[in-house]
Amino acid sequence: MTSRLPLLLRRIPLPLALLAFAAFPFAASDYLLDVAYFFGIYTLLGLSLNVVLGEVGLYDLGHAGFYAIGAYATAILNTQLHIPVLILLPVSFIAAGLFAFIVTSPIIHLRGDYLCIVTIGMGEIVRLALINNPLGLTGGPNGVYGIDTPTLGFLSIDTSFGYYWLVWIVVGIAVIALRRLQRSRIGRAWNYIREDETAAQTSGVNVRNHKLLAFVVGAGLAGAAGCLYASKLLVVSPESFTFWESCLMFSIVLIGGMGSVPGVIIGAAAVTLFPEVFRTFASYRMVFFGVAMILMMMFRPGGLWPRRRGGAEARDLLERLWRRRA
């Protein structure tokens, strides 16, 4: 019988990680803080797609469309009506969620692969529509610029330090919310659908409604990420919301491990930091990325940090490491 992990070590991982997250901005340069900001955005995007792909198992390769809706909702409402960006955070969430409800309702019953191609089509339709500048609102290929920085009363975020806290607090709220959903009958229903849709139906799960709900929640979070993106860059344009972005989010969920929150964070880190590390090899980095994707699927198709059921995740990982040292 192997020795159990000492109580202290079992309790450490989460507080330690939180401490590192809190201490980091005080020690880091603006450049690193900016990188951390985008790490945060990708984490949020990964979490948003995780609801649809990781929990329910729906192949969504058009998620960038929801991201774009949120970003543009923020951009347009802020530049046209001067609504503060921070108020637009929940507004973007709702806008993207509503959009998802409307467009996925007619197609939610489609079989996996068909749903996949339709989501690709939807993502492209959003991007193309934005480029075509309907009603003169979206600024065409150049996009919308002149977005305000997040300001509300005395709260003004215009430093990398401030942005860091903004994005990671939102991520924190999202993580808590998603974990609560995971540990409820809703989250379980999502997993039942993923595992076997027919068996889920005959166990009493309203499959259609739960799939729709997953899309709405996932889209909402992506929309919120879009708002955060717009509020940092102060400019939005269609080229940030291409099929490639959807693929990136898809990879984050796959790399990290479907349905796993720590996995998504790892996946987002890989996807954000990877290009940074490979900056010098600019043209080759995409080739490396493609190779990495294939190798990952060959050796760790379950993801780098797959969701472990029936126990806490970090604790299990530490237990395995602990046993190996003995």
């Binding site: 919310a177 609560r180 959903l181 540990r183 409820s184 009958r185 809703i186 989250g187 379980r188 229903a189 997993n191 039942y192 595992e195 076997d196 027919t198 068996a199 889920a200 139906q201 005959t202 166990s203 009493g204 799960v205 309203n206 499959v207 709900l213 929640v217 059921r309 029936g310 126990g311």
Partner: protein, 269 residues
């Protein structure tokens, strides 16, 4: 085995009708899988649906449980017309089923699998989940308790935290039954429950079914190929061939019915 004198008894079925189909018809492309089927199941019965392969038995189950919509005819459950209802709604009415090929949730734990049965008996929504309201916490406790009790009932209490795909086949079958029972159904629909089980496991399953019927006032409708099960526990047998009902009656009479024998052995189709 029933004694031969059974065949001379008046064939009567007690109890009200739990489920009945009227002229039920299901067509796939050019194939009429179920052809104007009329049959009934009475409360407290163990009713068996038998017939050669391709007779349409599983299709009947799929229509009754809401996976398919029939082209014509109707299904009544406890007096209510459930024709064309979606599967999850039918479950809430009180019908639960298992599948011929065992459809569990393989990467979830045994406990989580059984908890699925309680989904339709609880109603905490997104808001409740996010805010962790007292209602949600109470329902979670109930779901967990019910699932644990069902697991114990089928002898899987020790496997609660194991992944469903990792337990042996025979126990997977029982796990599926536990999940079905967790929704507190009035009617249990079992599609070839003994398929893949060894004789000992089949015996255990049969005793289990009889006990559950008695203790929980259930009704059971099953498809079976294993004649020991059909003869051993069923009260009434309906025989299908080519989508139609060709015979029905107590097991002993059916066993000797020449029409039934011919359907199984071949002859004119």
């Amino acid at each position: 085995m029933r004694s031969p004198s059974d065949s001379s008894r008046v064939e009567s079925r007690r109890g009200d009708v739990v489920v009945q189909t009227a002229a039920l018809t299901k067509v796939f492309g050019g194939l009429t899988a179920v052809d104007r089927l009329d049959f009934q199941v009475h409360r407290g019965e163990i009713a068996a649906l038998i017939g050669p392969n391709g007779a349409g038995k599983t299709t009947v189950f799929n229509v009754v449980t809401g996976i398919y919509r029939p082209e014509a005819g109707s299904v009544l459950f406890q007096g209510r017309d459930i024709t064309g209802w979606k599967a999850h709604r039918i479950v809430r009415e009180g019908v639960a089923r298992t599948f011929q090929n065992i459809r569990l949730f393989p990467n979830l734990t045994c406990l989580e699998n059984v908890m699925a049965g309680m989904h339709c008996r609880t109603s905490a929504g997104v808001a409740a989940a996010l805010l962790r309201t007292p209602k949600l916490l109470r329902e979670e406790r109930e779901i967990r308790a019910a699932a644990e009790s069902r697991l114990a009932q089928v002898g899987l209490a020790g496997s609660a935290d194991e992944l469903a795909r990792n337990i042996p086949y025979g126990r997977q079958r029982m796990l599926e039954v536990a999940r079905a029972l967790a929704s507190g159904p009035h009617l249990l629909v079992l599609d070839e429950p003994s398929s893949g089980l060894n004789p000992r496991e089949t015996e255990d399953l049969m005793s289990f079914i009889k006990a559950v019927i008695r203790d929980e006032h259930l009704t059971v409708l099953l498809i079976e190929h294993d004649m020991r099960v059909v003869m051993g526990i069923s009260d009434w047998v309906t025989v299908m061939d080519g989508g139609r009902k060709i015979a029905e009656g107590p097991p002993a009479r059916i066993y000797h019915d020449p029409v039934v024998i011919e359907a199984y052995l071949g002859g004119r189709k």
